[in-house]
Symmetry: C2
Subunit: 418 residues, 2 copies
């Protein structure tokens, strides 16, 4: 069946089969969209978001899309490699995850949806693709883990490719200890700090996630073929680019926003002055994520970027010297922070003022979106997004599929101590 | 002449000879006071401050001092080693500097005078001697430099005695570069970081200041005899304790407040967990001084204390990785910060909001004290004390001997760039 016939069949179905499953043609539409425009393009994402993936593909194929969008896609509108892409994915054990799937990491990526709404309408004033906070239109994933579960409790560890033995030791140690405690280590699969972090996590038999800037069937760097195969066994390789895509230089910068968005915090282990790891840290901060930085000798060029981050008042980075420091910064309330002993504790004890306000803003029955919670709690949407995962981990709130509400109270009130 | 005869002769003279010089009996009184009570005792300093040194010594010798003060001095009230102390000082090239001397570093030590006024009246609630912010009653000084000039632009470098090669390298490098730029390095003369900092400064042919916790004639550690002799050649060894006094353990903690008070900021280079260097840093912060911390490998036990300081939100420590970072933090406005090029600059350009308010609070003629400036500028006395040295270095204010006033305008307005 041609792409156009397939799209036609899916049009008007709402993207679902009668069984409720995602329509294969919708997945094919998103596979096509993931190839015809570079990820991170504000207006392209807005167009797909506004009309839906099937209509977006149809309008582009039929030349009926707005001129600005047609210009972005160009001659690729007439091409179709979807069947080949989906076949190549299948051959390497990969799949295409779309926002309509349960597995889509909707909550972490919502920070990008919120942030992209702040981009101006006029493309001349929009952020460059390498810095724009744009959600992905789909994610190619290779491996056995479920993406949404993998990133629920996750921390990014990023750093220099030209790392020192010190940096690699620290990254491996942090990866290992985070893995031991049930945290997913997310990184970019590169030489140096990234590889040490992935390896540390796997040494603790914990799944790890590598977010790539190229096709998941042709991992880069090539010397990491065995590493990537091992990551895929228990964790995931994820990319916005379809199979076969090359790791072009600018794609690493575009990719970095996903590492920042998918995780609760980013740990920078070693970074040279003005490096990519610093850029990832800044993106993490703008998305309301924790920026955690491992210091090093002031005599090491590979720690200059780390120290710059720690000196930058805009970043509000936290110095971390141990896994306990990392977990203290990203951990869930009541889960990762030990409650003071010997006094009766309720689940609300230990909540920050902000978390209490967000909790009070949650309705009992019908779930509401983070924007609504922010309005009621009197805070930023990004702040709401920062505390929701912790409230959920503490079983205080529930995601209904369309919004957040209070979790039902436990059967019996449990108090400790006294 | 006996001490009591000498005191009798000085009583009623206001502590001055007809020539205006400090009365030798006043110096002898303070020499006596420096031995009969341990430095850092709130009530003892308050008593001397209230009645003056000559009357304080007379009342204690005659048993007429308040009971609480007599208890502090005990049997030592009947002893007199002043002539021997002054002779031993002279023999090793030392002298006694008293608050009545021009050389007394009145402005830096004023932070202690302000801080001690916050101590409660009831001795049961006063700070322990090892933490109380009490000004010294006198300072024994060995060496050729003038103390007030030496500390005018000074930075403390402190750290572990059990330092690593990394820490010693950094301390020596910072000491050297600060010395090259005309800054005095102040430290405690101990093994490890202290010694490396002093040596670095002297390698740049800059005078350096060691504040000791024992007599200046018997430096501790003994292995630093040659180092101390070199420091005295161009810089100073300073102590609150009279010649011959031993470096008792608690005296190091009492001494630390002087290192913090005399300098614009304290750089901690290496420190173990819960160490003396951390204590000095905390005292510096309480006196309104900058706390600057050099990070190190997170794998080094000697950097744990540094990283604790950088993680402590109460300390508000600044990470420093180079001498430029240090000077940026402690430097005078318009002197150590490069003005942006290519625009006309006046001396007031680049002043912080606080500095501008303090400057505006300064009268044109009669100098006023920091408390008055704080009241007019609407800020803390400690904040005033923090910005005054920078305003003075920028030639914007003048110390009249009794207070601060605006400096007369320069003959000709100088503008740069344009």
């Amino acid at each position: 069946m041609t792409l156009d016939e397939d799209l036609e069949a899916a049009a008007g179905t709402g993207g679902r089969l009668p069984t409720g499953e995602v329509h294969p043609a919708l997945r094919r539409a998103r596979a096509w969209l993931s190839r015809v425009a570079e990820p991170g393009t504000v207006d392209f994402w807005r167009f797909v978001d506004a009309v839906g993936p099937v209509a977006a593909a149809q309008q582009l194929r039929g030349g009926r899309a707005p001129e600005r969008i047609r210009t972005l896609v160009g001659a690729r509108a007439g091409q179709d490699e979807t069947l080949a892409d989906l076949r190549r994915a299948e051959q390497c054990g990969a799949r295409l995850i779309v926002p309509e799937d349960d597995e889509w990491p909707a909550l972490p990526l919502h920070a990008l949806t919120v942030a992209v709404s702040g981009e101006p309408d006029d493309p001349r004033y929009q952020s460059d693709r390498t810095t724009a906070p744009v959600p992905p239109v789909a994610l190619w994933a290779r491996g056995s883990a479920r993406l949404d579960e993998l990133v629920e409790r996750s921390v990014a560890i990023v750093g220099s490719r030209a790392s020192t033995a010190y940096g690699e030791h620290v990254a491996a140690e942090l990866g290992h200890r985070l893995g031991e405690r049930g945290w997913t280590v997310v990184s970019g699969g590169a030489f140096g700090i990234d590889a040490a972090a992935h390896r540390g996590a796997m040494a603790a038999e914990a799944p790890t996630l590598a977010v790539l800037a190229c096709g998941v069937d042709r991992p880069y760097p090539a010397a990491h073929g065995a590493l990537f195969a091992r990551i895929a066994e228990t964790g995931l390789l994820v990319s916005e680019w379809p199979p076969g895509c090359a790791p072009l230089r600018h794609r690493f910068l575009v990719r970095n926003r996903l590492i920042a968005a998918l995780t609760r915090g980013t740990v920078v282990v070693e970074a040279a002055a003005r490096s990519g790891a610093q850029a990832t840290a800044k993106r993490a901060r703008r998305l309301g994520r924790e920026v955690l930085v491992v210091p090093g000798p002031v005599t090491s060029a590979m720690s200059v970027g780390c120290h710059e981050l720690l000196r930058d008042p805009d970043i509000q980075a936290t110095l971390v010297a141990s896994v306990e420091h990392v977990i203290e910064a990203v951990g869930g309330i009541g889960v990762d922070l030990a409650a003071p002993p010997d006094r009766p504790t309720g689940p609300r004890d230990g909540l920050s003022d902000l978390a209490s306000r967000v909790l009070d803003a949650c309705p009992v029955r019908t779930g509401v979106g983070p924007e609504r919670l922010a309005a009621v709690a009197g805070c930023d949407v990004l702040e709401v997004l920062r505390v929701l995962p912790a409230l959920e981990l503490a079983d205080l709130v529930q995601w209904t599929g369309t919004g957040w509400r209070l979790a039902p109270p436990p059967r019996e009130a449990v108090t400790r101590g006294g």
